[in-house]
């Protein structure tokens, strides 16, 4: 039995993303991770993006402590404060640095709470879609044959329709709701991950360590999820990072179109939609500032994702 465990660990040993022959060292796992981190930190843009992203995430998590006002608490809102310009003072003495909306809600507070919903919807939908898509992709690649071709047909079919249209129809059917938006985003996204993972799994499948694991008569599920899948992760991490930005943009678009999150839980897209009616009369702040927050989040995620692509894919031309 003890022999088995050791043999298994030998098989796990190559579970290191993209082993580079030139830089093999004694403690490969540690040094590779550190090298990736060092490499990542070399790009000032990526570091800035990561810093902004962490800051936004913290703001979102601690929204109730940071926001000057609770924008959902109707008793705190005063209709007399409606559509104030940025910098004016609310009746309650708070300065509305970014103005107020038509219900007298401080825009800064609304954006902080909206960021919470937008980031949460983006991150949760990506995690679920990634788990489903990666499992489907790796299983399809390992199974091969008819199973693989049927699964990949479905993936191709789904990817041939634009995500925005599929999500729009799904939400028209499901109705509004944060949970429903997440489900719709998972449905439109899983296929990306399935395709990405399948692509790398097809290559990894033929490597010796998989053969070794199979020779040890390890259960299939163990070979697939403990040996094959971890080695397909680097491209998946890159796709998933960038996809968080796409999911956030998609959610805001759906909410803008009126099929996304409910009015009671306004995401950034919903806030922008609110301001749409006031835009034409020159009251720019209601739509502009939530959009700026959205852009900052998306750009930060893209900077990080771009750098991850360079770091995790040393073979790409740099």
């Amino acid at each position: 039995m003890a022999d088995y465990v050791r043999a298994d660990e030998v098989a796990i040993a190559p579970e290191i993303p993209e082993p580079l022959p030139a830089t093999v060292s004694s403690d490969r796992g540690e040094s590779l991770l550190r090298r990736h981190i060092d490499e990542f930190l070399k790009s000032p843009g990526a570091v800035a993006g990561l810093t902004v992203l962490i800051a936004l995430a913290l703001i979102a998590v601690f929204a109730p402590a940071i926001a000057p006002q609770n924008p959902y608490d109707l008793s705190k809102l005063d209709i007399m404060d409606n559509v104030l310009k940025p910098g004016e003072r609310l009746g309650s003495g708070i300065t509305a640095f970014l103005g107020t909306d038509d219900q007298g809600r401080d825009m800064l507070s609304a954006i902080i709470y909206g960021l919470r919903i937008s980031l949460a919807v983006g991150a949760i939908s990506v995690v679920i879609a990634c788990a489903i898509g990666a499992s489907v992709g790796v299983l399809a690649a390992y199974a091969g044959g008819r199973v693989e071709s049927v699964v990949m047909r479905i993936v191709d079919l789904q990817l041939s329709f634009p995500a925005i249209l599929v999500a729009l129809v799904l939400l028209a059917v499901f109705g509004r709701g944060v949970d429903k938006v997440v489900i719709a985003l998972v449905i439109v996204q899983w296929a990306y991950y399935a395709r990405t993972v399948r692509g790398s799994a097809l290559v990894e499948k033929r490597r010796e360590y998989i053969e070794a694991a199979r020779c040890l008569a390890l259960p299939k599920s163990r070979v697939v999820f403990r040996h094959l899948l971890p080695n397909c992760l680097p491209p998946l991490i890159v796709v998933a990072t960038v996809q968080v930005a796409h999911a956030i943009a998609l959610e805001s678009t759906l909410s803008f179109l009126g099929v996304g999150v409910p009015v009671t839980e306004p995401s950034l897209g919903m806030l922008i939609a609110h301001g749409y009616n006031y835009l034409l009369s020159g009251k720019y702040w209601i739509s502009t500032f939530p959009g700026v927050a959205l852009v900052i989040a998306i750009v930060a995620i893209n900077l990080v994702g771009d750098r991850l692509r360079d770091v995790l894919n040393p073979r790409l031309a740099r």
Binding site: P162, V169, S287, G291, I298
Partner: protein, 325 residues
Amino acid sequence: MLVYLIRRLGQSLLVIAVMATLVFVAMFAVGDPVDILASPDADQRERDAIAKRLGLDRPLWEQFGLFVWRALHGDLGRSFVYNVPAVDVILQRLPATLELALTGLVFSIAIGIPLGVLAGLKPYSRLGRGIMSGSILGFSLPNFWIGLMLILLFAVELRLLPAGGRGPVVSVLGIPTAAFSLEGLKHLILPALTLALYKSALVIRIAQAGTREVMLQDYIRFARAKGLSRQRIIFVHVLKNIMIPVVTVLGLELGSMIAFAVVTETVFAYPGMGKLLIDSINRLDRPVIVAYLMMTVVIFVIINLIVDLLYAAIDPRVRLAEAKG
């Protein structure tokens, strides 16, 4: 090739059939249209009469059978709201959307090619890197918000362009169009620009990669050795060669532009098919939603079919692999 064609055609028909079933069943989960159509104080008898008139009182499978039978005869039902065939409602809006999509295509080429070539000629310069980073933004920024900011800048602050709607429509060769008057063009600029943003980013990337590749070719070196001017090399030799992938990709993307128009048309209150879809979803006008989706499915299936057939015609390995499997 014939075997491949038949197989591929069969697959396309299967996809359309599956999508038709999905769309039809899904639409039955979308609210009760009687609620919208009946007046709030209508009693049960009036409501039943409306349901009967629309055929909503029959069992689902019977409605589906009738839907398939009629769809095969080119009839996708009557709009609950307009009380005219749903296909007519959509076709009436089609020219506006096509006008928008085509103008968007022109814009994306006009923006994408020069920037892409510029970035491709000097990929490591500050300008080249800047353009490529900008193109990432074009991919990922929320389109609708950019549209709103364009309205804010050009319509509200500068008062140069109208904020929304479509200009006066005149009939040219039997096609109603707004693209032949100054007013109509003015209405077209902002929505088309918004729609073009995403595709411009795509064109920039293709043009940049193409230019980098072409610049290394022997014929460019030869043209240089011959003493041709830089302008002539870029405008004739480079441009001609990068246009092939650009045109291919944009042709493929026409379908997704029509889908994307849903967002742009809503932002600019532009009376096209996309706005119609959103309105129909809000008014629970099932036949129009179903007809729109079916038409879109057919368009996408046809585009995919053409692409696959072209690939198979060019690359024999594709059709050999398919014919076996």
